[in-house]
């Protein structure tokens, strides 16, 4: 791995970002996490988050510590990453309806109103949101991105893992990455 590059896993909540963090860890990457947000019923294997990421764009002082490591950066915060670093990004995509269904379950468990915005409206919003984010990332010369479909990863893990390993210029243990996928957990994950 290149110690000058910040490796990032991104995506919308409930698109498989925690799974990808776990896979990259098993594959041999060092993660930047603090485990402040603990595992729960929504993410039984953990969130693999680093709380200071949420302080973007005000606080970027942690970024040098992220060089050569993988850190989870929510899609919304990607646009606040400063230009003076290089980023390799694995961006998780998932069927929008599955994302919405999973988010709504999580909202209920958090005591939030899952219907504050209708599913139809949220579907349209998230599609446009992701599309614009792709344009943004595509125009950044310091960001290289690989879009991985959570649905494809579940259907044919070997193909997706091969793509990720290639994107990272090899050096990842594909077998251990595959073993990190708990098919039972994710088959039942709405």
């Amino acid at each position: 791995m290149d110690n000058e590059i910040v490796y990032i896993v991104s995506g919308l909540p409930r698109s498989g970002t925690s799974l990808m963090m776990k896979m990259l860890k098993e594959g041999g990457m060092e993660l930047l996490v603090d485990n402040i947000r603990e595992a729960d019923i929504d993410n039984p294997k953990g969130y693999f988050e680093y709380e200071r990421v949420k302080k973007l764009p005000e606080d970027t002082s942690w970024l040098p510590d992220a060089r050569g490591k993988v850190v989870k950066v929510l899609a919304e915060l990607i646009k606040h990453l400063p230009d003076d670093h290089r980023y390799i990004i694995v961006f998780m995509m998932r069927d929008i309806d599955e994302i919405i269904a999973s988010q709504k379950k999580m909202l209920v468990r958090r005591g939030e109103d899952p219907d504050a915005v209708s599913d139809d409206e949220m579907r349209t919003l998230l599609r446009t949101y992701l599309r614009n984010l792709k344009v943004f990332v595509g125009n950044k010369s310091n960001m290289d991105v690989c879009y991985i479909s959570y649905n494809d990863l579940m259907r044919e893990p070997d193909l997706s893992i091969e793509e990720i390993v290639g994107f990272f210029d090899g050096g990842l243990d594909a077998g251990r990455m595959r073993a990190a996928i708990d098919r039972d957990l994710h088959r039942n994950k709405a």
């Binding site: 909540p13 929510l74 919304e76 909202l107 504050a116 915005v117 919003l125 599309r131 344009v135 943004f136």
Partner: protein, 75 residues
């Protein structure tokens, strides 16, 4: 004065050529070149379209952010 050339030659693998030739049989395409030109124009148009941001109002953006906050992913 020589007429300006309007076409040039590009190479594609023979197996792909044969596959396209089979595919266009019975369609409106009269040659592999016509088909390849059509597909490339479509792909380029799609790529150019992908490079444009769609209008996303502040209100719409705030709805997405509010969802992210409610989920605990944004402060």
């Amino acid at each position: 004065m020589a007429e300006e050339r309007k076409h040039t030659t590009v190479s594609i693998p023979l197996p792909l050529y044969r596959k396209i030739k089979e595919r266009i049989e019975g369609t409106g395409f009269t040659s592999v070149s016509d088909y390849v030109t059509y597909v490339l124009r479509e792909v380029l148009a799609s790529l150019e379209e992908d490079q444009k941001e769609e209008v996303f109002s502040e209100e719409e953006e705030e709805k997405v952010k509010e969802r992210l906050r409610a989920l605990g992913y944004l402060d």
